[in-house]
Symmetry: C2
Subunit: 202 residues, 2 copies
DNA sequence: ATTGTTATTGAATGACTGTTCAAATTTTGC
DNA sequence: GCAAAATTTGAACAGTCATTCAATAACAAT
């Protein structure tokens, strides 16, 4: 029918995502995106609209990736306690592997509070993650895992604060991050970790 | 000796701080700062150097304010448990009163990971806060408050993640924030809150 | 008054911003 | 081979960016 695209839209999206992820929206220029994707301005606008909509699309792609990975961890068949351990271990690795932070968390903090549309969009992406956590905790509570709360809703919220909290700490002191996730998990399980670990007195 | 300043440098700093705080570094233009401070470009550069150094100075002023307020909460003479309650209550209020977030936390997430100088600066500001928390927890541990850990260092780190975590959650779901601080505190105290609050069975 | 010093002013700078568009190019269907 | 449709190209647009600076003004000391 017509001339086919010479570029791969998925690759272009991924390259744009990495640029926005690394630098943030404001610090990323269209020139950066032209360089990163290899597309000329006209093609970029044709494929993704303007800078904001391109940003939005990369963020959506990122969120989808994240939810997929979260599902992989949360829906494996195993005791809920093991799943929780796996989740916190996974998240620690993720923080270590991505010193530029989490694209979604960065986007949340970067978002202009006067831009309600953008804010609502990001909140919606996080709400998907919270929903998965809540569903998981419904099972965990039924399994009688000794959690700090019996309310799946509250537990999901607490884990959300752990996500934000660990991402902040990872940027503040990446070298001291390693021990924290297991501690937060222990607190979620209401276990004063040290009591179990103290060497026995002579 | 010479012509005196017509403006108040402290006021100008405060106005600049509010602008950077609200919009972030990149989204703030020199024109914004000229408008906010009332100073003409030449005066602004004369007083605060360039945009980056102005930003840095406003951030330092903010951090000093914060440390002062933190000290007020942490060094009051009272049982450590009450101080902890006061701290989490204070922080909740602070989050509600500042929907634009915490300037320091915003700055941390905004910071370019390739700009080591800026990152080190921000880390130093947070390190001051962590130090105060650690000192407080040394007293609290000595007081035998039933904390999740006996290590003041670890406790301070946990509270730092709570700060980042609550700030993230406050931007994600401001309407759901209210119940969280007390829950995080309960976890720090190793108290499964609901067990105490469940209505007695008939 | 004059001089030295500092502050104020605002126009000007050159670089970079996001975005557009008409021309050129490449394909498919006939 | 021709027409229709879609993509590519990159120059051009008007606007904004951070920053500079020479001219002007206001003070203190002499």
């Amino acid at each position: 029918m017509a001339r086919p695209k010479q570029y791969n839209p998925d690759t272009a999206l991924k390259n744009g995502m990495e640029t926005f992820w690394h630098k943030g929206f404001d610090a990323t220029s269209m020139t950066n995106l032209v360089d990163a994707t290899g597309l000329k301005p006209g093609s970029l606008y044709g494929a993704f609209g303007n800078k904001r909509t391109f940003y939005r699309k990369t963020l959506e792609a990122y969120a989808e990736q994240m939810v997929t990975q979260l599902d992989e961890v949360l829906t494996q068949e195993r005791p809920a306690l093991e799943t929780l351990e796996a989740f916190y271990a996974f998240f620690l690795n993720f923080c270590v592997d991505t010193p530029q932070g989490c694209f979604m968390v960065n986007a949340l903090f970067d978002a202009d509070i006067d831009d309600q549309e953008q804010l609502t969009h990001i909140q919606g992406l996080f709400a998907q993650m919270e929903q998965r956590l809540k569903t998981f905790f419904e099972k965990a509570v039924a399994e009688k895992v000794p959690l700090v709360s019996q309310d799946p809703d509250m537990l999901a919220k607490i884990v959300m604060t752990h996500i934000y909290g660990l991402r902040g700490f990872a940027k503040y002191r990446p070298d001291q991050l390693a021990a924290l996730p297991e501690r937060l998990l222990a607190m979620l399980l209401c276990m004063p970790t040290e009591i179990h670990c103290d060497p026995p007195e002579k």
